[in-house]
């Protein structure tokens, strides 16, 4: 892990610098809150207490204010997810083309329920609402990458590609 850019930050130098700039882009600092939380989560893995504390300090609002916002947005997690967060859409367009089957397949394949994390921390699974891939349904996102026109077979391939990317025994 890179050493922090400045004493007192839990973020990498690059992210800390990005945040330093982010708050200056808007007429009010608080506008940086939602992006900051999402980018912080991308780096730390989830919105930890430490993330809440630092973001609150950077914006100049209370931790309660930050938590009120964090809990509103479904992408923001307050518990660690897997290294690869598999998000299967089952909303109407995907449902019509087998989204539920893809989800069930992932549950079986990964051996975890919806919102579960594999014991090695490599994968987590979540049934999600429409991700904007309706015309290429069924679809899933692994972290931010879209995987579309899925079949159970192609989903297997997707999962095994990610599995191969994770160094042996790596977990969180």
């Amino acid at each position: 892990m890179a050493s922090p850019a400045q004493p007192g930050t839990i973020f990498s130098p690059a992210l800390a610098a990005r945040f330093d700039r982010l708050v200056t882009l808007y007429p009010v600092r608080r506008s940086a809150l939602v992006p900051m939380l999402l980018y912080a989560q991308d780096e730390i893995g989830y919105v930890s207490d430490a993330v809440v504390a630092e973001v609150a300090a950077r914006i100049g609002i209370t931790e309660l204010d930050v938590r009120n916002v964090v809990s509103y947005y479904s992408l923001l997690k307050t518990r660690p997810a897997g290294k690869y967060h598999v998000q299967v859409c089952t909303n109407i367009s995907c449902m019509l083309r087998g989204g539920n089957e893809i989800l069930d397949h992932c549950k079986k394949k990964l051996g975890i329920p919806n919102k579960g994390v594999t014991p090695d921390g490599v994968f987590s699974l979540e049934e999600v609402e429409c991700i904007g891939a309706c015309s290429w349904a069924p679809a899933a996102q692994v972290n931010y990458a879209f995987h579309e026109n899925l079949t159970p077979e192609s989903m297997d391939q997707v999962l095994s590609d990610y599995r191969a990317k994770a160094p042996n025994g790596e977990g969180k």
């Binding site: 947005y73 609402e129 904007g132 309706c134």
Partner: protein, 437 residues
């Protein structure tokens, strides 16, 4: 990256640069890019708005409000700064068009922002994308940086006296933030709870300043209107429904995809010719014409032109352009349940009818679908939906209620078939959940 599809009936206007590498600013310029912005700069605010009115462009987010009129509501004089806001929080189930715009033609969005900013004399614009669209945020941020580098954004754009800053903003997962006032709250770093209106955004919007907020497709259409001329653009569509629109065909179709078709294009033709019809020799059962919020049409209600007025006359709405096609195998109770599950998940929870109504309806539909239904459930589902309709703080309650009412009304028999402990005829294995009578 989403696959592009086309059909001979398509009119590539907004999709004119799709697949042509226009994320590259030079390529964009080569394909008539930023000419409209320069043209608009010569026209000045009043003429821009007049052009917009002539174009008959109506908001592509779903409500279909005339864009030119919306812009004209912004007061000329304002003590507070004005803003242009692009709603790229595309989340209506069945809708995946804005994604293509951001992916293939990000500069068109920027150019649209420039024109809108010129129209109301705003000095700052925001392009708000849903957090799930991370790769698009990167594309947009690159495009914005390129536009700054060329002097199309920033101080004295295009060498004029006009300054304009644009910031790309990410959401973090909330359908409700697609509602314009909730989006402004989110952009101010708050929970995505809609605001009390009036005042409307055109008068008191972002940071309290007069604000234009438009759907991404609407904004991306603007430069094309100035590219081909407003009258020409209007002519592409039907009366009071100018131009083309990106229709997202999904569900049981041979060729699902996003197609740019003229406003008023026949729905039946859209399904059977553009979309290639229903696969596997199945029959059409129903169509959700404009995203999950719009009331379902039965197979014999689809011979209509797809514009705001004609779909409205048919008892539904053109909505966001998400055409979801259901074949005869679909269980309408399951479909209604999945729809409600979405609204229950996405309700912001602010007002009682939406928060409690969506939760209750989801529970009832879940139980009914699983075979735990009782007689009065069906009437009760309709009662609840009808009592949410028009009573909620924002349109999300209506969006949940309208399709539900239509499902029960048009497919009541299927709901009844789930009763008496039978559960879903398609999912007989499902464990019935008993009612707590």
């Amino acid at each position: 990256m989403a696959t592009l599809t086309t059909h001979p009936d398509c009119v590539p206007l907004v999709s004119y640069r799709f697949g042509k590498g226009a994320t590259n600013i030079d390529k964009y310029l080569e394909l008539d890019g930023y000419k409209s912005a320069r043209k608009a700069m010569e026209l000045g605010p009043d003429a821009i708005i007049a052009e917009m009115k002539t174009s008959n462009l109506r908001g592509r987010g779903g409500a279909g409000f005339p864009t030119g009129m919306k812009w004209s509501f912004v007061p000329k004089q304002s003590a507070k700064p004005k803003y242009v806001l692009v709603n790229g929080d595309e989340s209506e189930p069945g809708t995946c068009k804005d994604r293509l715009i951001f992916e293939h033609d990000p500069h068109a969005v920027i150019e649209g922002v420039i024109i809108a900013a010129l129209a109301i004399q705003a000095k700052m614009g925001f392009i708000y994308l849903r957090g799930e669209y991370r790769y698009l945020i990167e594309i947009m941020e690159k495009a914005v940086a390129d536009a700054y580098a060329r002097g199309f954004l920033g101080k004295k754009i295009f060498g004029s006296d006009f300054d304009l800053d644009v910031v790309v903003q990410t959401g973090a997962g909330a359908y409700e933030v697609g509602e314009e006032s909730a989006l402004m709250e989110s952009l101010e770093g708050k929970r995505g709870i809609p605001r009390i209106r009036p005042p409307f955004p055109a008068v008191v919007g972002l940071y309290g300043g007069p604000t234009i907020i438009n759907n991404a497709e609407t904004i991306a259409t603007v430069p094309h209107i100035f590219r081909i001329g407003a009258a020409e653009y209007a002519k592409l569509g039907t009366e009071r429904n100018g131009g083309t629109r990106l229709f997202c065909l999904s569900g049981h179709l041979v060729r699902p995809g996003v197609y740019e078709l003229p406003m008023g294009y026949n729905l039946k033709k859209m399904i059977y010719e553009v979309g290639g019809g229903i696969p596997n020799g199945k029959k059409l059962k129903a169509v959700v014409p404009g995203g999950s919020s719009t009331p379902v049409l039965t197979a014999d209600e689809i011979d209509i032109g797809m514009d705001f007025d004609q779909v409205g006359k048919a008892g539904s709405m053109l909505g966001s352009g998400g055409v979801v096609v259901l074949d005869e195998t679909v269980c309408m109770v399951e479909f209604a349940l999945r729809t409600m599950k979405f609204y229950q998940h996405e309700s912001c929870g602010w007002c009682i009818p939406c928060r409690e109504g969506t939760d209750w309806l989801k529970k009832s539909l879940t139980r009914l679908h699983a075979g735990g239904g009782v007689d009065k459930d069906i009437d009760n589902i309709r009662y609840l939906a009808e009592n949410m309709l028009g009573r909620t703080f924002c349109p999300l309650g209506d969006a949940a209620a309208m399709p539900t009412i239509a499902f029960v009304k048009k497919f009541r028999k299927e709901f009844e078939d789930h009763l008496e402990g039978r559960g879903c005829p398609k999912h007989r294995a499902a464990e019935p959940e008993p009612a707590l009578v």
